[in-house]
Subunit: 138 residues, 2 copies
DNA sequence: CTGTATCCTGAAGGATACTG
DNA sequence: CAGTATCCTTCAGGATACAG
């Protein structure tokens, strides 16, 4: 039995232990499992505009393999982030669309993206400094 | 040469391609690289309360190995998210502390955590439904 | 106490070929 | 078109032993 995580990022930290990331009931793990891989994040972005079909998503998300596209979409469907609609035409047409939950994820992800844009140059600069010091030490 | 990503999660999606996640200059990749692994996220949480030393972090973050703790902290230091201070006592004491950039990451992460807490039960329920349908199909 | 250095394994994920 | 099935490689990351 593991202690539940109520707020890793609340203000009042009191040094209490942090929830086990391997506990399936841990919300932190929940996000990490969905957001952890780049593909889910990119797909939420790619689906932000509305429905899209398989091939279109493949085109939109650069570098994704067919395997990962299918796999990630299935996962998102399972999690209730996306709906999958099959139109039995010839050839088959399949459309994906964000659910309410999927759409609601865009806000937090956007916040993260904004942080990223804001700190991109800073982080890159810090890396250079750090790497420089390391090289000098060696 | 790949198109830069300005806003994967902005409102007006126009179906334009999405930035290559392998481009080091892509902000989306920046977040994903830091946030992608559970440890960085958990450490930002663990360090939210202020300075903490190595062994304390190890205790706080359940399940992290010594190797990953060191490795993740080094990465965070390199990215300018954390400072590392060595006190040459016997035995050595090392304290880690979030920088401004590190602290500023807590907001977005908190938003994500809130999403997670809010949607935990829903996602879990959807998974059950999905798995049930799959089992029936098979 | 705070690491570094190796070894080793599982799992992620790309490439490719085939199907309804 | 939208997948599924396989093979194969890479590599993250745990376990362990040793060091300043």
């Amino acid at each position: 039995m593991v202690t539940k995580v109520e707020g890793l990022f609340g203000e009042g930290r009191d040094g209490r232990g942090i929830g086990d990331p391997y506990d399936p009931e841990c919300p932190t793990r929940l996000i990490l499992d969905r957001i952890g891989d780049r593909w889910t994040v990119l797909l939420v972005g790619a689906l932000g505009g509305g429905k899209a079909r398989f091939s279109e998503l493949k085109r939109r998300v650069g570098g994704i393999s067919q395997k990962m596209l299918t796999q990630t979409l299935r996962q998102m469907e399972r999690d209730g982030l996306v709906t999958r609609t099959v139109y039995p035409e010839v050839p088959v047409r399949v459309e994906y669309e964000l659910t309410g939950a999927g759409l609601s994820l865009r806000g937090p992800l956007k916040a993260l993206e904004e942080w990223s844009i804001e700190h991109l140059s800073g982080v890159l600069a810090d890396q250079k400094v750090y790497d420089g010091r390391e090289a000098a030490t060696r």
